[in-house]
Symmetry: C2
Subunit: 330 residues, 2 copies
């Protein structure tokens, strides 16, 4: 195994977010479940967008947010995902490259447009997402830069990829390449509904192929159909090397072997928008993990980055993550 | 003259903003003058964008921001400006319609893409703009919905339109229609460099065709090549019905005949980004003006809306302007 040239490479849906501040009633009127992600087709996306107020556009995508965060923290990051050669695709590519992440997946030259996620932010700062996957669905094994995957110390995969058959295959192929080259594999469960849709796949993956698992309380209890967080935590313990379980305002719990590390949350200002909280937790955690930090410090780095992103609108931190870490964790 | 069905109709460049937080040094390295607007061609825009960090995209355009604000305040607003039939054009159209403003200018089906403005926000919250006018330049008299103009109590024009010959002609034609139908005409001087480029035109306009003039301190002193704000204010007095002159943290001064009304600023939170401050001042002012409010209250409404928009990133208020007015001005 040669020395790695990248710390983390992520595979995910390449998405541009449309953030819209919305009243609670809008969710009810459109049968949307707060805090979750629903898939919509292009026509549904258009209809919903037409009934929403003005938006703010920003690059998004769960794994892409994580990799952008890792790059901002100073680690060597790469991202694999598919946009179309349209204006939103250009925005996505610019934003992730401009923070120093490698992004070389060729843009599709025909077919569906770049993926969009309508993110409805309610006054309680919760986000509810409706995603049109567009061009990102077309990511297939042929698009995968396996050379980049082989160069990575850690391969990071988002559970959302399971919603596309092509992407899922690409995902598993990549995990095999990463392992074959001595890399580790991290998985984020992404969303409780996503877990419901793909439980068997995820259970199998966690048992055999994942080193580091990220999940929030809803996702981990959904995965094991558990009645409580504690029950779910007992279930996952020992099935992968590390499980980092986030619990919103209760911080997070990191499990590794018999070890249990409880990490308090960081409150850095008024809660504005929870979009990207999980993604930035994973960014901080993996930045520390690939540098060989203790699991406690990895959890603290995750908490800190998540604590920052929830004080602003949108999933990509507008303030410097490196300064944040220097200030709070030295 | 029949009863008006619209309070304010604006004509301006239809622009999508790309907001990027930038260090001071970037301005120096790219020979940009802080606080001003520079025009760039597509290649320059691409080069500059490539060297910038991640952005946040939002609908912009000076007059468009004003009309969106007027609609959010509850007045009947319309906007005339030209986008291309591309993704940024769709975003622009959605955002202005979604706040209740009429926007019916047909999107161009060929030619340059929708206008973009790269807005560099420095740590002192000042914004420096580089605009690629794209499709907005192509606004010509044939695109003008003169019926909409005739229905307006007030026609609002942005000085930036003078940078395009076609738009300028459209602008003057519209002012004549407005006047012929008993409407008034308001003009914003937009930018000190814009005033330098078109001083003679603006001087002639102000003397003969403008009822309400909006300008900041730099713009009004540039217009009259005055040595001080006081000298410029003396020059403009009496040349139009009302001159509303904004002075950043010193609030604004409204001149009408012999009357001088000094309006204090509203400080509603930490200063984040001055983008849209002048646009929202005009929105508040014209909302009051077309309802027949006193000039003092018009100035207060302007100050209040400007005071809100500078506490957030971007030129379109994310909080409710109607609630803001209810809270502060009853």
């Amino acid at each position: 195994m040669t020395a790695k040239t990248l710390d983390v490479v992520g595979i995910g849906n390449a998405i541009v977010d449309v953030l819209v501040q919305t009243e609670e009633a809008f969710l009810d009127n459109h049968a949307l479940t707060k805090g979750t992600m629903a898939l919509v087709d292009e026509a549904q996306a258009e209809r919903l967008y037409g009934s929403l107020g003005p938006g703010l556009e920003t690059s998004g995508g769960s794994a892409a947010n994580t990799l952008a965060g890792i790059a901002q923290l100073g680690s060597r990051a790469g991202f694999i995902g598919r946009v179309r050669d349209d204006q939103l695709g250009e925005i996505f590519a610019h934003d992730i490259r401009s923070v120093g992440a490698r992004f070389e997946t060729p843009a599709a030259t025909s077919g569906a447009s770049t993926a969009r996620c309508l993110i409805l932010v309610t006054p309680d700062a919760q986000r509810t997402m409706c995603t049109y996957l567009g061009a990102s669905v077309g990511l297939d094994p042929a698009d995968l830069d396996l050379e980049m995957v082989a160069q990575a110390q850690m391969l990071y995969l988002e559970g959302y990829l399971w919603d596309s058959d092509d992407a899922k295959k690409a995902f598993i192929a990549a995990a095999e390449v990463a392992r074959a080259h001595g890399g580790e594999v991290a998985l984020s469960l992404s969303d409780a509904f996503c877990v419901e849709r793909h439980r068997d796949s995820f259970l199998e993956l966690v048992d055999g192929h994942v080193d580091v698992l990220f999940a929030n309380e809803m996702e981990i209890t959904a995965l094991y159909q558990a009645n409580s967080f504690e029950e779910a935590a007992d279930q996952v313990r020992g099935r992968c090397k590390v499980a980092a379980l986030t619990r919103s305002e209760q911080g997070s719990v990191v499990l590794s072997g018999e070890e249990t590390i409880v990490v308090p949350p960081y409150v850095l200002g008024a809660l504005v928008d929870t979009t990207g909280a999980g993604d930035l937790y994973a960014a901080g955690f993996l930045h520390g993990y690939t540098r060989g930090d203790s699991l406690e410090r990895c959890g603290q780095l995750g908490s800190l980055c998540a604590g920052l992103v929830v004080t602003q609108l949108g999933p990509r931190p507008q303030a410097s993550l490196q300064e944040l870490v220097a200030t709070h964790l030295g």
